[in-house]
Assembly symmetry: C2
Homo-oligomer: 332 residues x 2
DNA sequence: CTGTTAGCGCTTTCAG
DNA sequence: CTGAAAGCGCTAACAG
């Protein structure tokens, strides 16, 4: 069933039906009602491929992230979806955690579809990707560290400063042998390491041996494992800055298993302020990142850039917030 | 830049370039190499909208779920992505947790795109949706309880039997005042309630007052909250069958906060066997659902159905597995 | 194996 | 406010 079928039944031309559907204002009220009724009755469904081809406007926003399936990204997705719903855009997600060549392939796929916008959770230093993003014929928002120059626009927080705040907090609470526990070393994690290192060096307390990392598909398990290794090799370690709250949760459990008192014997600070952090026992100190808002505003930036026709290299720093809780709550 | 541009530069006709790109076998090796080189040099990117329009084949698989952003769905997505990657399909996700009319809108959106397949995480009893799915001109896989008749195909587990197994386990361990703690009551949760109820009634131990539920956007917080309410109103409650592992985690934390011994004073059984269940202290007994495989095979079923042209009302029961752990490990 | 012709379903552009 | 004509970029179907 096509637009012409509807047009015939309504006694008008195809283009008028098209207008009644997309731009009701441009059709006389009477005709509009007739047409919309026929559309309804026939159960007509427009063909988006044809529409995209004819108008060179797909209404599609591509989201590309290596962490599509991470707990932290869930809130970002919620924000994205909420902002998209009232618009006439659609979102298509692609995970890019499968090596650089696949990443390029995914991006090409998006570009094949005349996207209305692109949201990219960056991997640093991939020139091919950077180039493609820079040339993309649509607004591009990078969800990343705001300290970097984006291809087009970016939104996020300053991860280095967030790490500094967390590390200072641990120092203030009197912890002295502070470890940093990590999953993979993506760009953000590296920025956090810089902040962590800078603050501890200033205090004369930085020990590179206390920076542990390991790839694992279970973050909670990783936390258990890393604490285990840490306490085995460095029994005097007295706190951990964990790169996400799942790791922090694993560390907490492992402390409980070993009978290590938290926060008295060992302090734990997480990152992201996921759901469970505030409800754990003890509750886990964490760095709150406005993830929902990052997703929401990323789409918003695309909508606005598309409307105004220019994006003006916008960089939005949404800021973070350290949330002190029981897991570090002892006298400094 | 279009196919014709490439064709001109390669000194062939457009259709030959088209074939070299999609069906290299059908073009002579020499010509193929020439063409692919020109494509590469020019950085030609095919227009998927035009392709979809001309071939009536979008290569798009729609995934619609009310839990796109739930922890349990993450593994399903991983399975989906892994199976899609080597194929020439693309996935588009839509969340459908925003009311029935929006759900229909989302589905229509997919249908507007000539999807190659549809994956639907079902909400029971929505006739409009059921109808649309039944009429859909493509393979449809429902991720749901396998006890139901699907519109086309379905894959999953039998939630009622899973709940029976979990409840029996709690009985075996000597728990007698067993509560069921729940988020929303979707279809699966209702099936689980049936199983829970049946087993307890058989033992003469079912008490409807011990079935608690509450909507909340924080599952861990919900677990804390529900345990709180449970112990306040029913101090003799001695175990909880939680509808997911996040709730179970909240219950565990709340028990710790109250000084309730787990598993001695209170038994906890979760559902899904999420990452953290096995690493908690004590580790949390849970029901393992093959979520990754459900996603993987769902796409596989679509691919096969598309290839064979028929789906034959396939229903695949992947089975579950009760994983007994510390949180219920006491002498019966 | 390669090319020609026609047309997918819609929208743009330009007339009325 | 409405319509006619043309064409978006690609591929099916047929021919050579």
């Amino acid at each position: 069933m096509t637009l012409s079928d509807v047009a015939r039944n309504a006694g008008v031309s195809a283009i008028t039906v098209s207008r009644a559907l997309r731009d009701p204002e441009k059709v006389s009220p009477h005709l509009r009602d007739t047409i919309l009724k026929v559309v309804e009755d026939m159960g007509y469904v427009p063909d988006l491929a044809a529409r995209a081809l004819a108008s060179k406007n797909s209404g599609l926003v591509g989201v590309m992230s290596p962490w599509l399936t991470s707990h932290a990204f869930i809130s970002v997705i919620r924000g994205i979806e909420d902002r998209v719903r009232p618009s006439d855009l659609r979102i298509q997600y692609a995970s890019s955690d499968t090596g650089p060549e696949d990443r390029v392939r995914q991006l090409r796929f998006f570009l094949s579809q005349n996207p209305a916008g692109l949201i990219h959770v960056g991997q640093a230093g991939d020139h091919v990707i950077d180039d493609l993003l820079r040339r993309a014929p649509c607004p591009v928002v990078e969800l990343m560290d705001v300290s970097q120059q984006p291809a087009d626009m970016s939104i996020g927080i300053d991860h280095r400063r967030a790490a500094e705040a967390a590390t200072r907090h641990l120092l203030q609470k009197g912890y002295r042998r502070i470890a940093m526990l990590n999953g993979g070393w993506d760009f953000r994690a590296q920025r956090r390491l810089e902040g962590f290192k800078a603050v501890l060096e200033e205090a004369g307390l930085f020990d590179p041996a206390l920076v542990l990392s390991l790839d694992s598909n279970s973050s909670v398990g990783l936390g258990c494992h890393l604490l285990d290794r840490l306490k085995r090799d460095f029994p005097d370690a007295d706190a951990a800055f964990c790169q996400n709250d799942d790791i922090a949760l694993g560390v907490l459990f492992e402390c409980q298993r070993r009978g290590l008192g938290v926060p008295s014997d060992f302090g734990i600070c997480g990152f992201n302020d996921l759901d469970h952090a505030g409800f754990a026992f003890p509750a886990i100190t964490s760095v709150r990142v406005p993830r929902y808002e990052i997703g929401y505003r990323a789409v918003d930036m695309i909508v606005r850039a598309a409307a105004s026709g220019s994006s003006a290299n916008k960089i939005v720093d949404l800021g973070f917030q350290l949330i002190p809780r029981g897991s570090t709550d002892r006298e400094g």
